[in-house]
Each structure stands twice: as C-alpha cells, then as structure tokens.
C-alpha cells in the first residue's frame, strides 16, 4: 500500500509531463487498437464462413466463369447436399463511390445454404416469386433508408446498364459475424438479360456454393467435384468457404502486412515516448535513489519503484486508449461499414492493447533502472543540492 502511494505520488509529481506522456500513450493505444480492429475486420468474412459449405470456381482464376450446366453434375457427386450458383455483380448505387457487396444467386438454394440469413416467411415468399426481387441486409437497408417495396437501381460495372430491382425482403443475421450489408438478387433475371444481349456471360456462373452432408468429408467431396471436370474446358477448384474467403484476403496481403508494420511502429514510438519520460524522471531522482540505497534499500526495490511508475503511467494511458477505441471505431464504422462490416473492437484487441502497454512500460524502465541501481551512492548523493 505504502509503495503504491509512493508510485502514484511520484508518477504525478510533474503533472504536465506525466499528462502529456499519458496523452501520447492514449493516442498510440487508440491508433494501435483501431489498426488491429481494421485487420480483424478484414478477416470477419473468414470467421463467419461455415465448415459445411464448399465453393467451386474456375481453376484458372476467379474472373473466369463456369457453365451453369456443371450444377447438375456437381449435385450428383457423393456427399453433396445442396447447391446454388452465383455471380459477383459488382454494381454501384447512385454513384461509383457508393458501393456494397451485391450478388446474383439462385435464391432458393442460396437461402437453404445460408440459414444464418433470417428472412420473415412472407418476405421470403415474395422474393422467391419475383424475378426482379432482391433482398438486402438490415444494416444496408438502414444506411440507405430502404423500405420493402422500394425500387432500387444498380449501375452495372462489367455488365453495363441500369438494373432495377424491387426490395422484397430485409434480412437479419443469425450471428454477430453474419454480414448484414449484402444485396442479393435472382441470377435468372441477370441471365435473362444477358441472353437478350447475347453476352459471353450467358449461362455462366462465377462460382457454385455447395452444402455437404458431412463437414468431416468436405475435403474428399471437394476432390471428387474437381475430378469430375478434370481435362474439361473449364477445370474447377473446390475449396472450403473459409479457404475461398482467405484467398480473397490473400490478394490484399501487402496492405495487411503494411498495417501490421504500422501498428508495430506505433508501439515503438510509445516505447520511445515512455522511455524518454522515465529517463528524465530517473535522472532527476538519481539523488533520491541514492538516499534509498543509503537507508538500506536494495537494487530490486529501486527497480520496483521505477518499473512500477513506468507501468502506472503506461497503464493509465492504456486505460484511456481502451475506453476511447470503441467510440472511435463507431465513428470509423460509419465511413468504412460497407467495406468492413465487422469493424467492431474485439476482446482480443483489448488484451493486445493491455499486453502492448505492459511491454512498453517494461521496456521504458529498463535503461533508467539499470542506471539508478548501478550508480555509486556517493556519486548519487553528490547530485543533490
């Protein structure tokens, strides 16, 4: 108790200096927390993916399509329970900057494959019946103030034109990780228009979503599917949904590595800030440490005082940083929500904040402690007066 009192009084002896150090650490922890949240948000899709679903795509690349006729052959593969085809549509809303994920899917199979998409039965029925119908996630509908029955126009990118849809349903996610910012419409509607245009993309899908009977046999089923199309014009790659999402994320590896490096740099900066404060503090108090040693206090007790003070300052900064991170994340979410639906501060991020601050507190105190406990008492006492 006595030592805690001494640590607290020492830490706030220079109020302005300590306040500025705490502020620096708060900002650094806030930045670190937001960067970690950004990285986590990148992986949200992979976390939300199911072990019982496979994705089949063209073996050459994602930009190459597969004949929709593959669907029946895949369905006949042993272990396959459900299947639905789909295309990434890539349409924009109002202007090019207003973007959200939008897919053309075979709706019945899609809704069976994704039970985490919760749609009221009447809305589901209307969506299935209307070829121009679409459904949107709750957060997406809230963002653009859409109501059931609204006409929504998307502008095609790689399939040009204005595409009009009627909002037939607004779904909720069953889990926290379920993306509620997705827009889905009928693949038949897309294909019908493509047929009229005699497009190259007619009767083609970008990927098949496949439900397997036994998740433990997923790898075996995937191999069997790909074997079906070996040496065909469009060979396939089938992988788990998680692996498929991670392959998307891997395309942005450089960005993630850059963000991780920046978060490391942030930690190094706060080590420097905290170390500077502790070095100044220890230099000013070298005489006091000599007095403690004179009175019989040994090196480890002096070390405890310096480490304790350093940890106290960094942990106060860390606490403020942790409290501010969710607030800042909410603000960022409004800007980034469409791209990063999972932009939410996780408990793991808070643990990392605490770990980083603890590490900073320890590192910052090492050199000042070494100096304080190694100075000769007579030299330390000479610094007083």
């Amino acid at each position: 108790m006595y030592i805690l009192k001494l640590l607290f009084r020492n830490a706030f002896r220079h109020k302005l200096r300590t306040s500025l150090t705490v502020l620096s650490i708060t900002i650094a922890i806030l930045t670190f927390g937001l960067l970690r949240t950004f990285i986590n948000a990148w992986y949200t899709g992979a976390e939300a993916s199911s072990a019982s679903r496979l994705i089949t795509r063209n073996a050459v690349s994602l930009i190459f399509t597969l004949p929709v006729a593959y669907k029946d052959r895949i369905r006949q593969t042993d272990g396959v329970k459900q299947i639905s085809g789909g295309n990434f549509f890539g349409g924009t809303y109002k202007d090019e900057k207003t973007f959200f994920a939008n897919y053309a899917v075979e709706p019945r199979g899609y809704l069976e494959l994704y039970p985490e998409i919760l749609l009221p039965p009447d809305q589901k029925e209307k969506f299935l019946r209307d070829r121009r119908g679409c459904i949107a996630g709750r957060k997406l509908a809230e963002r653009y103030h859409w109501k059931i029955g609204d006409m929504i126009t998307l502008k095609g990118t790689y399939i040009p034109g204005n595409w009009e849809f009627v909002l037939r349903g607004i779904y909720h996610g069953k889990y926290d990780t379920t993306d509620e910012r997705v827009f889905v419409f009928h693949w038949d509607y897309l294909n019908e228009v493509l047929k009229k245009r005699k497009s190259f993309f007619t009767d083609q899908v970008g990927f098949f979503m496949i439900g397997v009977k036994d998740p433990n046999r997923a790898a075996e089923v995937a191999q069997a599917i790909d074997k079906n199309f070996k040496n065909s014009l469009a060979e396939t790659i089938t992988e788990t949904e998680k692996a498929f999402v991670l392959s998307f994320i891997a395309m942005a590896d450089a960005i993630i590595i850059a963000i991780e490096l920046v978060s490391l740099v942030v930690i190094i900066i706060i080590v420097a800030v905290a170390a500077n404060t502790m070095a100044m503090t220890a230099r000013e108090r070298i005489g006091e440490y000599a007095i403690f040693k004179t009175l019989g206090y040994r090196g480890w007790r002096i070390a405890g005082m310096i480490f304790g003070e350093s940890l106290l300052i960094t942990m106060v900064g860390c606490l403020f940083g942790i409290l501010l991170t969710p607030v800042a994340a909410e603000v960022f979410k409004d800007f980034l929500g469409t791209y990063f639906p999972g932009f939410t501060v996780k408990v793991e991020t808070i643990y990392m904040d605490i770990g980083a601050a603890f590490l900073v507190g320890l590192c910052a105190a090492i050199i000042p402690t070494w100096r304080a406990i190694n100075i000769r008492i007579a030299d330390g006492l000479r610094r007083i007066g």
Partner: protein, 234 residues
C-alpha cells in the same frame, strides 16, 4: 558519556579515485579509532578527503585497502547486499541538504528506514512518533518537506537517522545549509542525542562553531589525518 571501547576502528585505509587515466589519491594510510559515545568532528579544507572518510565509515563507498570495523564487524569484507542490510540497522545519516523525499510527509520520511525492519504498522507508528517527538516535530508529522523550514527539515532528517536506533550517526555538514539560529538548534539537538542517548556521532564540518560541540576534532589535509585536538586543547 564517552567509553574507552572503540566503536569504529580504521586501520591503514587508502582510497583513491580514477579520473580518466589518472589515479587521484584521496586518503592515505588513515588509522583512527572512535570510542563509543564519542562526538567527533572531522575538519579540513575542501578536497581534503573528510566526506570520503565519512562515506567509508558509513559503508557508502569501498576502501582500496585497509580495514574498517564498526561495532566489531569488518565492513570492508561485506558484499553490497550485506552492506545494505548493515547500513539499515547500524548507521543513521544526516546530510547537508536534508535529503528528504519531497512526495512523502515528515512521518512517511521518518518511517522509510523502518519499512525494511519487519516491524508491524503499529510498532512503526510508535517508533516514528517517538523520533519526531525527540526532535520536537510531533505536531508537524503530516507536513511535506516543502511545507517545512530548512531547520525543521533537518530535524526530520535527524528523526529519520535515529528512528532505527543505529550504532553510529554520521553527519555531513549538517548545518551547512542553515541559518545561524537553525544551525544552533540542530547542533543542540545532536549534542543532546550524544549526551542523553549516548549516540556516537561523526560529523564533517567546515564550521568551527559546529565543531565546538564535538568532544574531539580531527583534521584532514590532502588525505592525511593530523593530530587529535580535544575541545580542551582548543
């Protein structure tokens, strides 16, 4: 009351400092005995080695060679850890600039040496209150050093020095930073501790008035200890 038994025995002690490549001798072949209950003043010009000798007696520094025994213990053979433990029990320190911890109250400053003693909180409180009572500062125990005058701060430092009931008290220019009235008070207090509590006091001073309170004065000049001067001889 001075006993004939020496409490401090210094035999052929040498001490030098290294400055770059130069070795500067500070003390040369010092031999000295200080009797239990003695009040000794060490005088001499600046750089004569008196503070260095005091630091060696108080185990704040190490000899190059020679032996120092305090209370029969050869402190030159102790490790740093043993010396720290020895100091906390056997030596009370009084410095020129008081050397109090500014963020601790008078009570807490005096309590500092006792935190290493293993005494209970209640026992510590009793010891601290008694020490502050001896220096007549019991009413100001909750004041911080910054709220006390120089003389009062030095009295707190004396209370801290005596709270563990040490074997010897060492004082390095205890009146050097005080006005005349405060200096007289501090010297009176040290004299009282020597007379009433039979504390052995070794004091370094430049001030002849301060030295007058001592039973014996030893002069150091260029690291060499000169003859004994008793107050009677002065």
């Amino acid at each position: 009351m001075k006993s004939e038994t020496p409490i401090v025995e210094i035999e052929h002690v040498n001490k030098s400092y290294r400055r770059g490549t130069h070795i500067i001798p500070v003390l040369e072949n010092i031999t000295l005995e200080i009797a239990e209950g003695e009040f000794l003043a060490l005088m001499g010009p600046s750089g004569s080695g008196k503070s260095t000798l005091l630091n060696l007696i108080a185990a704040l520094d190490r000899v190059d060679n020679g032996i120092i025994r305090v209370g029969g213990i050869d402190i030159t053979g102790l490790t740093e850890t043993e010396l720290a433990a020895w100091r906390s029990v056997n030596v009370g320190f009084i410095f020129q600039f008081y050397n109090l911890i500014p963020v601790l109250t008078a009570f807490e400053n005096v309590e500092l040496p006792l935190l290493l003693s293993g005494l209970s909180r209640r026992e510590r409180r009793e010891h601290v209150e008694l020490a502050l009572h001896v220096v007549n500062l019991a009413s100001r125990m909750d004041h911080y050093p910054g709220q006390l005058s120089g003389g009062e701060q030095q009295r707190v430092a004396i209370a801290r020095a005596i709270v563990t009931d040490p074997t010897i008290l060492v004082a390095d220019e205890p009146t050097g930073d005080l006005d005349r009235v405060s200096a007289e008070e501090i010297l009176g207090l040290m004299d009282q501790l020597n007379r009433d509590s039979h504390k052995t006091i070794i004091m370094v001073t430049h001030d002849p008035r301060a030295a007058k309170k001592a039973h014996t004065i030893r002069y150091l000049d260029k690291g060499v200890l000169n003859d004994v001067h008793s107050q009677a001889a002065l």
